[in-house]
Every structure is written in structure tokens, then in C-alpha cells.
Amino acid sequence: MKYEAVIGLEVHVQIKTRSKMFTRVGAGYGHEPNTLTDPVVLALPGVLPVMNKAALDAVIKAGLMLGCDIAPVCKWDRKQYFYPDSPKNYQISQYDQPICQGGAVEIELPGPARNIMGEHKRIPLTRIHLEEDVGKLNHFATDSLVDFNRAGTPLMEIVSEPALHTADEAYAYLTSLRATMIYGGISDCDMEKGQLRCDANISIRPVGETKLGTKVELKNLNSISFVRDGIAHEIKRQIGVFERGGTIVQETRDYDGQTGASQSLRTKEMAHDYRYFPDPDLMPVQVDAAWKARLQAECPELPFVKQRRFLEQYQIPYTITSVLVWDRALSDYFEEAAKLAGPGRAQAVGNWLVNDLLREIGAAKTDLAAAKVRPPHLAELVRLVDEGKLLPNLARTVFAQMFATGEMPSAIVAREGLAAAPTDAGELEQWCRDAIAAKPDAAAEFKAGKESAINALKGPVMKAAKGKADPKQVDATLRRLLA
């Protein structure tokens, strides 16, 4: 029998705000334990929550970017359970009236080849709601310590419909969602810092069946690759259970990305009764049209929309766009450089950016923002080559220098005497004859029909020309002499 998996993802994204969700104390990562606390975070007797409006702004903006309906009223509920990482023993959250409903995440599945765009899908969202994060427990041999630095950090929960069917789709969903959140400045989504966390609800059913199977919740998928691997593993496990004639138990399982195995945490019978009720300490907040319009104006172009525009507007290959558009800074950089370089030069800009600049940045362990090569540098380099003022083979030398020093390419060319100059035809012919004489085997192979053998002859010519010869002219001269 063939089986189909049905997957829904619950993604928690920490919102990047200066202060916490319901109090003024700072939010952040990597501080000394329990230093980002105050009476409200610690739930001391008598304290009250006050909503951080910036966090509500961020979640509304996220909703607008994903095409959600924004509720006219932001209402708060208490989700109650005892756990020592939750100082109040209830979490302020949104239960029956999430701030965002509907919307979708656009995803792209792997194409048939790296340079061919894959299929696009829209994965519908159920809801997005806002809540507060909990603290962190550290377990030791005989006791446990709790750090409340994370407690109270604004957190949004993005719940997809059960509309994903493969581990690859889940991977694509998270990649797209993460990029969208980073684009909107809503979160840095660093999974290592817990800024993005994912739980997956997975069930399987025979292909053709429309009823959903019993779902298993997979927790602690703490990298995007683990999400893919964990889901793939769980689908395989469930199919195995089915095929052995067993039934799937509704449960929560913990996936260990290191070992690639999962184990049961709790079954449905042990599920919490959260006793949700409206938080009487917080007044509902009205979100009017003007508020939404202000945030709508702040929404950036989404990665896939940008990709379609880049393909259309700059006529650049898909492979380049698929590198550029996932990084807002990189695509902004590209657009600035392409504009400065002038019409028809976008592809060259894209090539330099994706192939050379990113490689050098990677090798130097720096980042785009810190790179000394800025859009005007790259634009000028492309223009010099395109106008024939700098030979392509020398352009790499210039690039390496400008990456190291931040000098403009024209300055490097002038100082190093690298400007392309017309080569004396007689001198070039002599260099070609010398090369043929020095490598008679290569010359013979070429004459015998081995096209690539000519390259072995070009090297000595370029060396003799100190690199300043026009490769086209070299090629033409060699062919003439070998004809």
C-alpha cells in the first residue's frame, strides 16, 4: 500500500524587541543568568503585566506580510500549567481570538536541477498568535536551576494547516517563513539561540484516504535540517507501525537530531487541561485601520515576489536570483550595484556578487555589511570590463586587491598599469609562434581535431603578454597560425 503523510507545523518565533512582552526590562540572549529580570518577570506578589506595543506591531506586520486577516481586537488569555520555567505558572497567550488568522507561506520545492526553478506552493496558515516565552531549566545531578532571562520575551506562534506532505515541503516551508521573518525585521530567527523553534504534527494515511490519521507531535526539532530529518524519520516509523499491523498512538515524541531517533514524551491521556480564560489584568486592544495601514507601509517585498521581479527586470539566471533574494541585504546590495553599473550589466554584477564576493566573504569569515567592496566598487569593475577598459582576466586581480583594500577599481588599474591597451599584432604573432614551437605536441593534437588542446598554447602567450593580451585576439591568432 502507498501512504501519504500529512504534516502541520507549529513554529515559535521570538520577536526582536528591546524590552519584554509585558514589562520594561530588556530582552536578549547570552546574558548572565537571571539578570534580565524584574518583579514582573519573576511574578512577585502584586505585579501586573503591561503590553509591549512594539511586539504587537511586529506580529501584525508578520501577519500582513503573510496575507493574514488581522483581528480588530487583540485579546489576551491565560494558559495555565505548573512548570518551574513559567514564573506565574500561567502563560499569557491568545486562545480563541488570535491576532492573525488565515494567510499562507509560499514555498518552492527542489527543481529537477539546481539551475531550474522548482514547483511553488502556498501552504495555508491557521493562525498566528502572540504570547510570552518561558525561562530555561538547567538540570544537574541532584537539582535543577532556572534562568528567567528568556521568560517573558515576546513570542509568536505560527500554526500551519495540515497541508504539508513531505519532509522537503516542511524544510521549504521553514526556509521561506524564516526568510520572511528576517526580511520584516521581526526576528533574527537564529535557531541556535532558540529564536525560531519548530514542533511538527505528523500523521499518515493510505493514498486516496481523505480522513486524517492519528497525529504524533514531534518536539525539539532545533535546526531546519533536524526538522526535515525528524519528519522523514517519523513518517518512516509510522509506516513501519502500520505495515506491522499496529496502530499509531496519539503522543508527543522527542526527536534527537544527533542520534536520529525519537522517543515518547507523553501520551494523550497525560495531556494538560490548560484552563484558558481571558486575562483580567489586560484590557483588549483595538487594532484600527490606520494602525494596520501604518504597518502595511513598513512591509518589505517578500523573497519570492522579489525573485519574480529580478528574473523579469534584470533578466538574470534563476540560480543567481535564488542566491540573492533570500538575503534582504544581499538583494539590496545587488540592486544598488546593478543600478550604478548601468543597463545590460546586471548579470555581470550578479555573477561577481554571487561567485566572487560571497566566496571571499566566506573565506575571510566576515559578512556583507563589513565587506570593503561596496556596490559602487562592483559597479565600476563591471563597467570597466564591459567597456573594454579592463581585460576580464585582469579583473580578478583587481577584485582581489579591492576586496583587501577597499580601493576603487579605477584607482587600482591606474596604479598597477593594468589598463587594457591594444596589443601590437606583430608582437602577438611572435608570442604565438614561440608557444607553438615550445609545445609541438599540443599543436599537433589541435591540428588532429582535439579542440581543447589550443588552451595549452594560450597560457604561454598570456604569460609573455603579462596578461594584457586580449584573449579573443590570442585565440584568433593561434587558430590562424595552426590552420
Partner: protein, 487 residues
């Protein structure tokens, strides 16, 4: 006796302080001496810091000497119910759970009283976590009624009412969730004001039921209550339920607002269970207003019969949630010898909370449980809306409502051992909390046994100025408030 310093009104003491015939240190010393003389009988205080009070008093005198006196409360000893946070002072809620807790921050009302120059004096006893009507639920032992030490002072703010009646402060603060200011005020023969929900910040008040709790003053006179309210009322950015409005000059309004008023008598508040002597005293008060030209009109609040049930669903639901933070992990009572976190939570709570608190947590947890929410909590909220609507309908025809505060005068310690009998003490006061209205209890007589009786006036939302003026009108024509218990 009423002339003795500890029994002065704020208005009188403030005038003397301003005139330079009295110093705050002198006044505070007198209050401390009085407390030392009677406290072993009244037991109104959970803790008191005499040297700290004298330091505050000296600072007040220094301010005044420098010409920088802050207003009518500057230098006046004011006591606080032990659910209101004062930085560096114990904050116990009369619970074992918080027996050793010291607050690291000030409640907003505390900060405002400090800004007004008040001498903060003493942490006053209450029913544990403000749950009760007699102060017998205190983990530290009951407070006694200064008028009869064999009787309760009412509750839950029994310490605040008794301390004031006994001359151990010139005013006190309490909190009122279902009558916890007004009922003890009535039973102790002092004025007690529960402001409109949202007028006074709850930041720093240990929560019992968040949608019902309000801080308010106990005072000897309506004028003193107006002074206290003026100091603590007003919007607070730290309390999201705090009302955004200008605070009027309540004290000036007392003389500016002159009747006659249209006074409504809700017939549901004069039925079965009302002590005849209390009923008679309240009838006398009605007669007074009528004689003064006020229009007296019988009105109906038809959903009154549902108040108690509605209250005990909403209040316990909220309490079960608000008290979840007392878990033995971060502060408060922590059970010894536990082996896991569940034991730490459950045993700390089992040992730290008293019977009434546990009863309400269990009740509240139950009504919020999956499958019961709609039938209990949601329905109670709907009934609450109807109860509020009853009041607003009545206010189409009348300015204020007049009722007894408590159906009975102070009862004996241990007399009401059945929790349901105790809950009936609040039958006339809880509707006001459910509707979010302001209400005041003023002394309106004494029983033959010499126990004070209180009159409740219920005002319209955020119309405290009018409410106080109506109350003051009665008070000025009577001298009940000038009597002092023979301790």
C-alpha cells in the same frame, strides 16, 4: 478620648501641623504609644516598624520646617493592609506562604502616599489572601473588634478597620474584592470607601480576583476619605486596567456639591437575613435624607439573587490562577525534603495555604476546567453583565443607591464556622464589585449592645465626588463617627 491625638481626623491633624502646633514626630509617637497600649488586645498588626515610622515623621517635620510641606497627608501616620507592597517591608497577605517575604518594590499607592508625605506605619492583618469576612482566616491569628474584643472586626481588611477604630493610625488602606473594605468599616464604626474599578492602581496589590479587586481608604470621616482618595487615585501606566481620567478635587467637591439627591432604595437589599437593629438604623438614615428634601425612590435590582453565585465563580476562578505563582520555587514557603518538582509545588502549597484559600483554589480550578468553562465561568460573566445593567438602569432614575452595608453587626469569633454562612456577610456588598461601582460605608448608629452599624451608599461609575458629597451630607448631621471604643 476623641480629643486624644491618635483619634484625630486627618483634616484636624493636618491643620495643626500646618499651624505648627503639632509635629509629625509628636503625632506619630502618640499613635505608636496607643498601638503599644492596645495591640495585644486588638491584634490588628502583622508587623510594624516604629523606628522607620519615626524617621519618616522626622523627614516630614524637616520638610515642613523648610517650607516644603507636601499637602494634607504630609506627616500623617497611615496604615496599610498587608497585601500592599512597600519596598523593604514584609508583605505576607497573612499567609504562611509569604510569612518571610520582603517586598523589593513599592505598590503604586505606596509610592503615591510617600509622595504625599504620609508616614507609612504598620502592615495590617487580614483574612489570608483577602479571602474571608472576619479576619479569622489569618495565618497569624484573628484581629479583634475594638468595640467588643470577643467579636470579629469583619474582613478581609479587618486589621485596617480595627487599627483605625482603635486609634492606631489616622487612616488606613484596605482592599475590597467583595466587600472587604465596606463590611469591616461597618463592623468597626469607621468610614470605608471602595472606589470604582480602575480608579486606583492595583500595581503592588497582591491579587485575589483581578477583575474585582480595588484598593480604598478607611478613614474617620468622609472628608478624610476624600483626602486619601485624592492621594491614591488616578491613571497608572503600570496597571492596564487603570482608568484614564482627570482626578477631581474630591475634598473641594464635598462643599461644592449640595443636594437634594434622588436616592434609590433597592428592595432586594432589605429582605430576609437583615438584622432588625441594622434595618432600623438604615431606615433612620433614609428618613434623614427624606427630611432633607431628597427624593427617596424604591428601585429593583432584579438579578441581585445571583450575585453570590456569580461572585464565587468569577472570584475563585481568578484566584486559582493568581495564586498559582506561589509554588515554592522562587520565593515564599518551600517544603522540605521533597524529591521532585511536583512534590515541591504541591507540598509547598499544601503547607503554605490555609483551608479557605485551598477551598477557593479548588473551586476556581474546577469552574475553569475543560468542559465546565461554558457552564460556569462564561455564564457567570454573562450574569455579571446583567447585574451591572441592573445598576445602570437604576441610575436612570436615581443619583445614588442606599442599602445596609452588612446584614448583621459584628459577630462573635468562631460564630460562623460554616463557609456559606460567612459568604452571606457580603450579600449587600458584592454586587458593587461585580458592577465595578464606587460605594462607601459610613457609620449610621449602634445596636443596643453597642456595636456599630454601617450605611452603604453606592455611586455611579467614577462619580466618587458625588458619592462622597451624599455621604458627607449624612455624616455632618450625625455624630456616630465621633464615638471611640472604650478599650
Amino acid at each position: 478620648m476623641a480629643d486624644a491625638l491618635p483619634h484625630r481626623t486627618i483634616a484636624d491633624a493636618a491643620a495643626r501641623l500646618a499651624a505648627g502646633t503639632l509635629s509629625s514626630v509628636e503625632l506619630t509617637r502618640a499613635v505608636i504609644a496607643r498601638t503599644q497600649a492596645v495591640e495585644d488586645r486588638v491584634k490588628a498588626f502583622n508587623s510594624r516598624d516604629e523606628s522607620d515610622a519615626l524617621v519618616q515623621a522626622a523627614a516630614s517635620d524637616a520638610r515642613r520646617a523648610a517650607g516644603q510641606a507636601l499637602g494634607p497627608l504630609d506627616g500623617i501616620p497611615v496604615g496599610l493592609k498587608d497585601v500592599i507592597a512597600v519596598n523593604g517591608q514584609p508583605l505576607t497577605a497573612s499567609s504562611r506562604m509569604l510569612a518571610n517575604f520582603v517586598s523589593p518594590y513599592d505598590a503604586t499607592v505606596t509610592a503615591r502616599l510617600k509622595k504625599a508625605g504620609a508616614v507609612l506605619w504598620g502592615r495590617l492583618n487580614l483574612d489570608e489572601f483577602a479571602m474571608g469576612s472576619s479576619t479569622e482566616n489569618s495565618a497569624f491569628g484573628p484581629t479583634r473588634n475594638p468595640w467588643d474584643l470577643t467579636r470579629v472586626p469583619g474582613g478581609s481588611s479587618g486589621g485596617s478597620a480595627a487599627a483605625l477604630a482603635a486609634g492606631c493610625a489616622l487612616a488606613t488602606l484596605g482592599s475590597d474584592t467583595g466587600g472587604s473594605i465596606r463590611q469591616p468599616a461597618a463592623l468597626c464604626g469607621v468610614v470605608g470607601l471602595k472606589p470604582s474599578y480602575g480608579l486606583v492602581s492595583r500595581y503592588g496589590l497582591i491579587a485575589f480576583a483581578s477583575s474585582l479587586d480595588q484598593i480604598g481608604p478607611f478613614a474617620r470621616t468622609v472628608e478624610d476619605a476624600a483626602i486619601m482618595l485624592g492621594a491614591i487615585a488616578g491613571h497608572d501606566p503600570l496597571d492596564s486596567t487603570s482608568f484614564r481620567a482627570e482626578v477631581p478635587d474630591y475634598r473641594r467637591a464635598l462643599t461644592e456639591k449640595k443636594g437634594p439627591w434622588r436616592i434609590g432604595i433597592p428592595r432586594e437589599y432589605f429582605g430576609e437575613g437583615l438584622d432588625p437593629e441594622v434595618g432600623a438604623a438604615v431606615e433612620q438614615a433614609i428618613a434623614h435624607y427624606r427630611a432633607q428634601g431628597c427624593e427617596i425612590r424604591e428601585v429593583s435590582l432584579p438579578h441581585t439573587q445571583y450575585c453570590l453565585d456569580t461572585y464565587y465563580i468569577i472570584a475563585t476562578a481568578e484566584a486559582s490562577s493568581n495564586l498559582a505563582r506561589y509554588d515554592g520555587v522562587r520565593y515564599g514557603h518551600r517544603a522540605e525534603g521533597v524529591t521532585d518538582i511536583e512534590q515541591l509545588n504541591s507540598r509547598s502549597r499544601a503547607e503554605g495555604f490555609g483551608a479557605e484559600v485551598k477551598r477557593r483554589i479548588i473551586l476556581g480550578t474546577y469552574v475553569l476546567s475543560s468542559g465546565y468553562y461554558d457552564a460556569f465561568y462564561l455564564r457567570a460573566q454573562k450574569v455579571r453583565t446583567l447585574i451591572r445593567q441592573d445598576f445602570l438602569n437604576a441610575y436612570r432614575d436615581v443619583d445614588v443607591l442606599l442599602t445596609p452595608t452588612s446584614p448583621v453587626p459584628a459577630f462573635k469569633l468562631g460564630e460562623k464556622s460554616d463557609p456559606l454562612a460567612m459568604y452571606l456577610c457580603d450579600i449587600y456588598t458584592i454586587g458593587v464589585n461585580l458592577a465595578g461601582l464606587p460605594a462607601i460605608s459610613v457609620p449610621c448608629g449602634f445596636t443596643r449592645a453597642g456595636l456599630p452599624v454601617g450605611l452603604q451608599l453606592i455611586g455611579q461609575p467614577f462619580r466618587e465626588a458625588d458619592l462622597l458629597a451624599v455621604a458627607r451630607h449624612y455624616e455632618q448631621a450625625h455624630d456616630w463617627h465621633t464615638r471611640v471604643p472604650a478599650l
